[in-house]
Amino acid sequence: MTLGKYNELMENIVVTEDMKNRILHNIEIELDGEYSGDGKESNDNVISIDNAIDNKKVRKFDRGIRGRWASYAAAVLVLLLSGVVVRSVIGDSSHSNSSSVMGDASADAAPAQEAMEEAASEEPMDNSWQIDSAEPVAKDSARPKPTYEAEEGAAMAEADYVLSIKIRRAGASDESVDMYESIDVGEVVYSGISELVVKKITDNEIVFTSDGGLIEPNENGSINLNATPPKTFTVKAGEEKVLVTQTTDGSDKITISYNGM
């Protein structure tokens, strides 16, 4: 059987000693905040590609730190700028000797203060595929892609798909997203306490069948546990429909978006 060759293929994918050392090094920095590796694990003889990867990995955590400092720097900048604004207004008011202008200036300072607090509380991103927007445009080619490229990629993904299914499982804080570039009748797009299967696809709509247990939530987000769940759901092109499982212990939430064929 041809698929028996799949294992032969995968035998080529192995954790190398260099990879292991890089990962342990990074995990130690990430979780313990320090590197206590012994001398034998430093890769003095690594080839250039490993150096490149190694540098990238270290940068991954540096970016988190840089992101935090960038936030602080942004906060200080906002504070300084608001100080300049206040001073200039006070300066002007000293000429006009108008207390009402000063009052306006202090009112303006409040949003600046809020902006500063917002900037200071900004959490640095720590996922390698998320991009640090506070960072200036990359100067060296090895640096991770800047924000606009990531956004462009996301926009591409948005434009390419025919059907998007977002699923947040009961109790989970994150959701999975399946983007279908094409879809066939009979495909199962959701499987949990029941299944959601594509029944019919046209340019204008997509129809799913369900074997029960799925329902649209009420406007206030509550779930009618006594309603009879529909057997079919239709989503019009360009429309988004939310379905939830009819359960009491938290529900799976399925968000369906259809772009048309």
Binding site: K5, I23, E28, L31, K60, K145
Partner: protein
């Protein structure tokens, strides 16, 4: 008590290849797969959960690696070099490169089922647990994956 480095080293020894291969089956790129392996271990160490047995522990790790891989595809659609393919071509392993190309062309959900079934030797019930699907769905995905692969290999490469 073991520190994080020792625990990570033990996990790498035990499950490193399995996690790396699962990630590679999605991402087709070694650098991305390595990121996923690292992030999966970090999540495991941060979670501090305890598992009934090794199977349970491995299933958890594979599930996290697969979810992280899916997220990575979403945020980073453009993939880099496929080192496996390059290796196969340079070693003139034509037959294997045909199979790899065919598996790569499968929709994501089929590729993951094929990987877990053939590479990890998981049962359809185990796969259902890892991918959070019904077992019947896994069985039908597996059948469709096999059919698609046969068709691709026959049509594209006259190989089946």
């Amino acid at each position: 008590m073991e520190n994080n480095r020792d625990r990570a080293a033990a996990l790498l020894e035990k499950y490193g290849n399995a996690i790396l291969r699962a990630a590679y089956s999605y991402l087709h790129n070694m650098e991305d797969a390595e990121d996923i392996l690292q992030d999966t271990l970090i999540q495991y160490l941060k979670s501090g959960s305890e598992y009934n047995d090794e199977e349970h522990e491995k299933a958890w790790l594979l599930r996290v690696a697969i979810n992280l891989s899916k997220n990575k595809i979403k945020y980073n659609k453009i993939r880099g070099t496929d080192e496996l393919m390059e290796g196969l071509v340079s070693e003139e392993k034509e037959e294997l490169s045909f199979v790899w190309e065919a598996v790569k062309s499968l929709p994501e959900k089929y590729a993951s089922v094929v990987h877990l079934y053939y590479q990890e030797g998981c049962s359809t019930a185990d796969i259902a647990g890892i991918l959070n699907k019904k077992e019947s769905t896994v069985r039908s995905d597996l059948k469709r994956a096999r059919d698609k692969l046969k068709k691709i290999l026959k049509e594209e490469y006259d190989f089946g």
